[in-house]
């Protein structure tokens, strides 16, 4: 692919990168805490991954190999566009194979393949504040984080259990980072939450519209919020992938006709293809 001329490496100017890099370092030093940053206007609308793109642009180097996924897939519009954006503005190599990537930008999934310590995963985050639906004021939620006062969220989980018999959050399930900060894991399925716990790779989170960056260092405890007598359980559709037969991966339900026909397939396309190729 042709590298676009007239842009700085990875699109952002160096002053902006320095500002984002400083925010990332503070975020790493305070795991799970949301650090404000001067989010820039990007050549795509808020909600399409502007936060993740800015974090990736600040991190990316010439020798990096970039993978971008959207809901687990490498071949959807958002993933293809962002991958092409960096191929053109930074000239970096791209891949769809999790194991070959050094930087993985993701919207709403964690790859099934375990990540290594030489990899960085960048999450696109629409709403970084886990308490946003319970308390509209950001001044108030900031205070709650300062005091580690997360009673409101425990009440929400408790009310779910009394009404439904279980916690009714299936994605963006809140987590405690290193026992201190309540954190939104971005809208990944709760199925993926256990992968965040003591992950070998560095996890960075960028929210462009909300102008926040946060991070989880490697090997850091990430615990899904629960109760002693109602433990967190990661759930998945009780089927095998129709393409590769996997019974342990996260599945997408795909409608295949107008007769009510449907199939379940792996959401992680690279994982599914790898299993079918026998690699």
């Amino acid at each position: 692919m042709n590298v676009a001329s007239g842009y700085n490496f990875a699109y952002l100017d160096e002053q902006t990168k320095r500002m984002i890099r400083r925010a990332i370092l503070k975020a790493v030093a305070i795991p799970g805490h949301q650090v404000p940053f001067g989010s820039r206007e990007m050549p795509l609308p808020y909600g399409w991954g502007t936060g993740g793109i800015q974090v990736t642009a600040a991190v990316l180097g010439r020798d990096d190999v970039l993978k971008v996924i959207d809901q687990g897939a490498d071949d959807t519009t958002n993933a293809v566009s962002i991958r092409r954006f960096f191929a053109r503005t930074a000239g970096v190599a791209t891949t769809t194979h999790t194991a070959e990537a050094t930087v993985i930008q993701t919207r709403h999934r964690i790859p099934e393949t375990a990540l290594r310590q030489d990899q960085i995963i960048v999450y696109q985050v629409p709403q970084p504040e886990p308490l946003s639906r319970l308390e509209p004021s950001r001044e108030e939620t900031r205070r709650m984080h300062a005091l580690a006062d997360y009673g409101l969220m425990h009440v929400k989980l408790y009310e779910d259990i009394t009404r439904f018999g279980h916690v009714s959050i299936s994605y963006d399930y809140p987590v405690m980072v290193d026992g201190r900060y309540l954190m939104a894991p971005s809208p990944i399925p709760a199925f993926d939450n256990p992968k965040m716990d003591r992950m070998a790779a560095l996890q960075l989170f960028g929210a462009g519209r909300e102008k926040r960056i946060y991070a989880v260092p490697p090997y850091t405890s990430v615990r899904s919020l629960d109760f002693d007598d109602h433990e967190f359980r990661a759930s998945r559709a009780p089927h095998a992938c129709l393409l590769c037969g996997a019974t342990d991966s996260y599945l997408d339900e795909v409608v295949i006709d107008d007769q009510g026909g449907r199939m379940f397939v792996c959401s992680d396309t690279d994982h599914c293809e790898g299993r079918r190729d026998g690699t």
């Binding site: 030093a29 305070i30 795991p31 205070r143």
Partner: protein, 191 residues
């Protein structure tokens, strides 16, 4: 004047490489990374120290500086555009060769713990003779940091900083063309 000494030969990619070294060191405390190889900064700046300044410090970040670094002040202000704050407690970065009083630097607040200083400490060595055991986020079981040039009472002074978490200062240690880091949450003990 020594502003004729060059900064990064390739400002975009050299800064990116140095940032990744600092990021790696900050994410995995105890890890020592190369930074600033090939840089020829004015004395007394070590190449790694100069690289960290060029990578992170600019006109938006007041820089507190130990008097010892005065011979390099022109170079720093020319290449980084850094402002020297009137009050050391307002500095976003503090450049030192001896561990300063950590409680005098910006600690951040409970609401905004990120408003704290990062101390760039140029030490004698990142290979010993002192050895510290590290524990906390970023460390799988335990890590060892070997460093020369920290004060004898470092463990006690750091413990006072660590107890402030999530407030507190972060430390970037530079020696020659190598660096390591200690984020505020890391517990340090004697080996």
């Amino acid at each position: 004047m020594n502003i004729d000494l060059p900064g990064f030969s390739d400002p975009v990619h050299d800064a990116q490489a140095c940032f990744r070294a600092v990021l790696d060191a900050m994410s995995r405390p105890g890890t020592v990374r190369a930074a600033g190889a090939g840089l020829l900064p004015p004395a007394p700046l070590a190449p790694a120290t100069a690289a960290v300044l060029l990578t992170l410090v600019d006109g938006e970040t007041p820089l507190g500086m130990a008097p010892l670094f005065q011979p390099a002040a022109d170079w720093i202000s020319f290449h980084c555009g850094a402002l020297v704050p009137a009050d050391a407690g307002r500095a976003a970065f503090v450049l030192a060769t001896a561990l300063p009083d950590l409680s005098m630097a910006a600690q951040g607040s409970d609401d905004r713990p990120e408003d704290s200083a990062t101390i760039i400490l140029q030490v004698a060595s990142l290979a010993g003779p002192s050895r510290f055991r590290l524990a906390g986020p970023g460390i799988q079981s335990h890590a060892i940091l070997a460093v020369g040039g920290l004060p004898a009472d470092f463990v006690a002074r750091w413990a006072r900083n660590q107890r402030l978490f999530p407030r507190g200062v972060d430390l970037i240690l530079c020696a020659g063309d190598r660096l390591a880091a200690l984020p505020r949450g890391i517990r340090v003990s004697e080996v």
